[in-house]
Amino acid sequence: MNNFLKIISQPDNIPIVIMLFLLAFFLGLALWQGILNDRSRVKPQGPRKEADKVFTFPYLVRSEFLSALVVTLVLFVWSLWIDAPLEEPANPAKTPNPSKAPWYFLGLQEMLVYFDPWIAGVVLPSLIIVGLMAIPYMDRNPLGNGYYTWKERKWAIMIFCFGFFFLWVAMITVGTFFRGPGWNFFMLGQEWDPHKIVALTNVNLSDLFHIRSQGLAMLFGVGVIGAYYSLAMISFLILKLKKSQFLKDMGIPRFFVFMFFFLTMMALPIKMVLRYTLNVKYILVTPWFNV
């Protein structure tokens, strides 16, 4: 318990704790407003009427001013109350254990448990940025533009929230509060024992299938990854056969771009499940890189 309090009251961890509460609050607020809108929306909406507008001065300027004032106040209290940390002088010869990145990158550091640095540290972050920028071009649903809704955008909201809350925020939380020395997992309140011994029992996927030759194992790995990404093709064919409206709206290139991002995103939870059920380390091992 002491250790729990010590970790959450670290000056740099306090913002994360605050953020978790804020996120829960705003997720609730957004969904609640969405459901209210779904129930009561009068359709269809005409063009925006001039009568529905109010003067920026004072109605908007007032809220801006007040929120700036409140935030200034909060910042002052926060800054008077809690001091920014300053440890010993930088010493390249003395590595702290654990060494952690700044908290907002701990999701990426946590991904290192499941993927090699070239994926977790370079490829996936780049794909997160590109993928986020691609969202407006992949989402063809014209509904729900400018108001909260749940019914009209169920899938979009579910996919985004899964990525944001589980693959980003939850990973940060785990990386901050549950990872101790050696990046080992510790429960909240458990003492961070630097001598904790964890058996290294992970094996490659090919080993589970008793493939011993390196060449065959490589081929097998390529096959598994190929099969995973060909799910895009399979779902394309299924939707095509069903003459799905979704596919028609998307168009072929957009559909495959979407499937690429979606499958890449889902690779993380899949790898996590494989790790915790079958102790899988790598899917594909090559002399140059591992996946």
């Binding site: 740099d12 507008k53 700036a68 800054s79 809690i82 001091d83 060494s99 640095p117 969202i135 407006p136």
Partner: protein
């Protein structure tokens, strides 16, 4: 003739001269009128002029959708991100007076700032906590914009600008993290920049990096750090990025972001 016996003459009906208060007189001076173009009386005209006659406020349109100004719609997160950026700008400039980005002085300047500079600790705390808060408000802003579907046409491009701003915010915070030059700073940045070793093709531990001749002293991480490990050149590099390059790019993109909000039809509101 005494005063009492004077025949009473009714004076011509002239409006009693209104006694001007000092304030009213002040408002008629040339100096005042040169500065303020309209008075404060609550009329539609003045409400309009308050916005378009002010260089800062004129980023806004004169009128906005009724639903869009509600806190429960925007959560104020975009505006607060910008406000926190301004706080960071002010506190950051003040901190620059006391801080030298060299390995010899950086840490002792931090100590000086915390123990000798009047309000130095408060200044540093404000800067650090605003930075953390800005990360949170930017994420919440993104989350709000997604939940209201405000990235949909015609605002696709501005969402992309926003993603760049999100990246710049985090990179700004990351470069600032090194500057205290303590163990926390050095090792957090070491962990973060170690990822660059593994960059495909461009890092000496990345796929096909060694085959392309990447070594610890010539790969992309070397370019970022100015050395093979986090050291004095890294401190200077991150300082320049943190204080000049990144804020500059952030301001450019913020300008585009705000401008596009206007051009794409204002805050997306409940229709």
């Amino acid at each position: 003739m005494s005063e009492e016996n004077k025949p009473t003459i009714t004076p011509p009906v002239t409006p009693k001269p209104v006694k001007e208060s000092l304030r009213q007189k002040l408002r008629k001076t040339q100096v005042w009128r040169s500065m303020f173009r309209h008075d404060y009386k609550d009329t539609p005209k003045n409400r309009t002029l308050a916005i378009i006659g002010n260089v800062f406020l004129h980023l806004h349109p004169v009128k906005v959708l009724r639903g869009a100004v509600k806190f429960k719609h925007t959560w104020c997160m975009g505006g607060l991100s910008f406000f926190l950026f301004l706080v960071l700008l002010v506190t950051g400039v003040a901190l620059m007076f006391y801080y030298r980005p060299t390995a010899e002085y950086a840490y002792s300047d931090m100590k000086y700032l915390q123990f000798d500079v009047p309000f130095g600790m408060l200044l540093r705390n404000m800067h650090r906590w605003s930075a953390h808060a800005m990360i949170i408000t930017v994420w919440l802003h993104m989350f709000r914009v997604f939940m209201t579907g405000s990235y949909k046409p015609p605002r696709e491009f501005n969402w992309g600008v926003g993603v760049i701003l999100l990246f710049l915010t985090m990179f700004l915070s990351f470069t600032g993290y090194l500057l205290p030059w303590d163990q926390l700073a050095m090792w957090a940045v070491t962990v973060g920049t170690n990822m660059a070793r593994a960059t495909p093709f461009l890092g000496h531990e990345g796929p096909f990096g060694p085959q392309l001749g990447m070594r610890p002293d010539n790969d992309v991480r070397f370019a970022l750090l100015g050395g093979t490990q986090v050291g004095a050149p890294t401190l200077l590099r991150f300082y320049v990025l943190h204080c000049i390059a990144l804020p500059f790019f952030l301001l450019v993109f913020v300008t585009v972001h705000f401008w596009r909000v206007r051009k794409d039809g204002g805050i997306s509101g409940p229709l």
